[in-house]
Amino acid sequence: MSEGVVPNASVADMHDRRLLMDRSVSGRRAIEMPAADVPLAEMPNDDLLRDADDLQLPEMSQLDVIRYFTLLSRLNFSIDTNFYPLGSCTMKYNPKLNDQVASLGGFANIHPLQTDDSVQGALEVMFELQEWLGEATALPGVGLAPLAGAQGEYAGLLIARAALEMRGESHRKVALIPDSAHGTNPASAAMAGMDVVTIKTDEFGNVDVEDLRAKADENACVFMLTIPSTLGLFEPNIIEINNIIHDAGGLVYADGANLNALLGLVKLGDLGVDICHSNLHKTFSTPHGGGGPGAGPVMVTEELASFLPEPVVVKSDGDVPSPARRERARVRAQQYHLTRPDNSIGKINGFHGSFSILVRAYTYMQSLGGDGLRAVSENALINANYIQARLRDRFDLAVDRLCMHETVLSGKRQADRGVPALSIAKRLLDYGIHAPTMYFPLIVPEALMVEPTETESKETLDRFVAVMQAIDDEIDSDPDSVNHAPHTLPNTRLDEATAARRPVLRWQAETD
């Protein structure tokens, strides 16, 4: 067979997987740049200049660049092509309007260091988003700077430490974290110089209140509560828990990654939470982009607002005439300003946050409004409980309770029949359904964490249920095939052990 010829390959496999540099042909170009329209300056010292040959980047025609990345895109699952019930990730529809709005020249082409008066539209977006996130959480101090959930956590923990320091309690360094928490919680706590103390989860999936009470002592800085928890459960003792923490002199941090379950149903601030973050790339429907960018605004009580990271947008009272206004009659009166809060924890990134993501979230919130956001959470709950109800005869539940926006199944019965959760997840891929989150939370054996979100229809859920049942049947009829899934994707299972043992992290000239 001639080289590069793969007959009878499936369409997905058809094209070769060579990297750009393997396709590069010296002298080709995908772009032309203009000639200089100014006299050339003297070049710097030769010692400083890079050899022309030193820069080995691909040399491709423009068509081949487009074709390469287009084909790569088709190797991927996505919301636009697949049901994606990935627990804790809130993979819901990302409205196309939001992307279109974010690409408007007036948003895409403004420089972060322009003067406030030249970016009033952008500042209005940020200001209103602050207001709306404050309203949604009843935590009115909002900082939009954090670039993802984990950075929101870190900012929140810096705020907690700074506030306690100001109270003269800088010795408080313990972060109490439930064993079901997401890995970023302890990692962020460690970055904030805290000692992590783990709190147990009881048999009902709740925080073990006695364990908490015992550990919430004079060193407690924060309790980090994911609400609903990563088990998809709302903590019924939340008021009591928060009182315990406050009585111990600590602060309550809520990981709001799962806010999609709560909009319009309850506000975190009302429950005694002091600080939380929200993943706009989850609840507020900004696209996940294959792993970001995200945005993880941090929300705090009025008292803590002065500690927020820089910058915060404020609105000037009334109609302060700006110098610019005097000069150019057509400019709106300057109303919004970027500021540094008095006791700010400082800058946690280069500029003002993931502005393009903030624009999307703000657009999304406008499209839904207050009632729509409540409908989001209602239907997220209904969809998750519907799946749980329909699958409970086949799959064990991590905890046998009504759930919130996601349900954690356990594949114990299936594992006993020789097929671990991993294989069930991989087998789903063959049916065009993305795998649920597996083996998380860590406390559930053979966990399969299913979050359908509100944007999926009943037919999609019904098909998911049917597929899960079919796989459960296959475990009896052909467990081997399930254990070797996926069979229909561009790759079968990948050898992750070798990848880590002998890391190849970039293109290399050697052929393999």
């Binding site: 990297l19 772009i31 740049m33 203009p34 200089a36 100014v38 006299p39 710097p44 022309a52 030193d54 820069l55 980047l57 040399e59 491709m60 990345f69 790569l72 895109s73 088709r74 991927n76 996505s78 636009d80 993979m91 992307d99 709005v101 007036g106 948003f107 895409a108 082409n109 420089h111 260091l113 003067t115 209005e124 993802a148 997401h182 890995g183 970023t184 909009l263 309850v266 294959g290 792993g291 960018p293 709106r332 400082g346 800058k347 280069g350 993931s354 729509g372 239907n379 709950l381 209904i382 519907y386 998380f440 509100e454 944007t455 999926e456 009943k458 996926p486 790759n491 079968t492 970039r506």
Partner: protein, 467 residues
């Protein structure tokens, strides 16, 4: 008008009758039965937000808000200082529109995410190449956080706890590094070039971290700084503007240990400062100390090449409080833009962008020098050391890439206001660093005509006509 009160929202498919059916399957009478765990007194507190708006209304409002901003895409701009207006080829936008890339999650299921993984591997390959470094990770939040994490990584690698940052770096870099290091038992300190080159490096220094081109646009003597760091047993950490590497020697050529940069200039629009992508590169031997995600090559059960996230035991979802960083969701999609940009520009395109920026910036500098009352700051200005202390073979401190500071005859903020009145976005007011200083940046996007317009506008100011 027909009322749609009972119809679901466009983003929510369940109809009222489907809801009823599903609640019956769940076995509850009504929705409220699903939320009895929420404390009753706080349940259902209504959201004081505007009502849902139609797409037409939202689009109209957002267009109006966008139009309130002075768009650097439609007028000349001379702002840089960490975010740069470079040409973005059409291929970037075309690929960025692919829903398969935009709406996928972090590639935890590699078999279903080869598109994201292979393009991420391309990103790592291109970044490592541009930096001349052995390895790159899959991207950080942005340039400054990459720099901050580089300092922390240097501390981990060296087991030392003083991160020394050259005082010619952007103060944003200091600030972010400080916020990242605050409780990590490391010190962030500024150090002068003079001290480093004189060998005044404390022996518990984890690294000498510097920015080149530095905040004022000048090329640092990377070799000398790196040698001094190594002499003190510290790492050399460099933060750079990747476009400059189209013509200037790469950090790798100078034996820098960790090199970071802001990826935005490589195909990402300004977007008011985000989302951007941080570039993070290092020597191969440090890979198990890298923060962030890393994509590796491997093979599948049929022996075919494929890609996967790797070295995940460094990461928070496995190592939790002992992770190398708390980063989880990162900036994959912006990394994709960089990957498409690099594939499109190729070596000659990237070089040409650098050279055009260089020549045009020098054209502007020369023109300003000729203006009475204006003064391009060339030497012995704070915070640069005096020329005498520069080592032989190193660059003159006057070598700049495409940014330079200018001493204005009036307050820089007034200069910018006057320029705004002529439809020009001026430079950055750096009078806190350089008295009467403004930092001007020129890229291939500034036509000669734009530059001449700026010079013309400045000449009016220089004549003392306005103040």
């Amino acid at each position: 008008m027909t009322s749609n009160a009972d119809s679901p929202h466009p983003f929510i498919p369940n109809t009222p009758s489907e809801r009823a059916q599903m609640l019956a399957t769940i076995g509850v009478d009504d929705f409220d039965a699903l939320i009895t765990d929420i404390p009753e007194q706080h349940r259902n507190s209504s959201l004081q937000l505007p009502n849902a708006a139609s797409e037409l209304e939202v689009a109209t409002r957002m267009q109006a808000l966008a139009a309130l901003n002075q768009d650097a895409g439609t007028r000349p701009s001379f702002l840089g200082a960490g975010a740069y207006r470079h040409f973005i080829p059409s291929t970037v936008g075309a690929i960025l529109q692919r829903g398969e890339f935009v709406t996928s999650y972090t590639p935890y299921q590699p078999e279903a995410a080869q598109g994201v993984l292979q393009s991420g591997f391309e990103f790592q390959s291109a970044v490592a190449q541009i930096f001349g470094m052995e390895v790159a990770n899959a991207g950080m939040y942005d340039g400054p956080t990459a720099f901050a994490e580089a300092g922390l990584m240097a501390a981990r690698v060296s087991r030392r706890n003083r991160i020394l940052i050259l005082d010619t770096a952007d103060k944003r870099l200091f600030e972010v590094a400080e916020a990242y290091a605050r409780y990590q038992q490391v010190e962030i300190e500024a150090i002068s070039r003079e001290s480093v080159l004189n060998g005044d490096v404390p022996d518990d220094a984890a690294c000498i971290a510097f920015q080149s081109p530095n905040f004022l646009g000048r090329i640092e003597d990377v070799q000398a700084l790196t040698d001094a760091a190594h002499a003190a047993g510290a790492l050399s950490v460099m933060h750079t503007y990747p476009t400059a590497l189209g013509m200037f020697k790469s950090p790798g050529e100078f034996d820098v240990d960790i090199a970071t940069g802001e990826g935005q200039p490589l195909g990402v629009p300004l977007t008011f400062g985000g989302a951007y992508v941080g570039l993070f590169t290092a020597k191969q031997r440090f890979i198990r100390q890298l923060p962030g995600r890393i994509i590796g090559r491997t093979s599948d059960t049929l022996g075919r090449t494929g890609y996967t996230l790797t070295l995940q035991t460094r990461e928070q979802h496995i190592r939790r409080e002992r992770a190398t960083s708390n980063i989880c969701t990162s900036t994959q999609l912006i990394g994709l833009m960089v990957a498409v940009y690099c594939a499109t520009m190729g070596p000659s395109g990237l070089r040409k962008v650098a050279e055009l920026s260089y020549h045009k910036a020098h054209y502007l500098a020369n023109a300003i020098d000729a203006l009475p009352g204006w003064n391009v700051i060339r030497e012995s200005d704070p915070p640069s050391p005096s020329q005498g202390q520069i080592q032989r073979g190193g660059p003159s401190p006057d070598t700049f890439f495409n940014e330079f500071a200018v001493e204005c005859p009036i307050a820089p903020s007034d200069v910018n206001r006057l320029l705004a009145g002529r439809g020009i976005i001026g430079g950055l007011d750096v009078s806190d660093v350089v008295p009467y200083g403004i930092l001007l940046c020129v890229t291939e996007m500034n036509s000669r005509q734009d530059i001449d317009r700026l010079v013309d506008a400045l000449s009016g100011i220089g004549n003392g006509g306005v103040a």
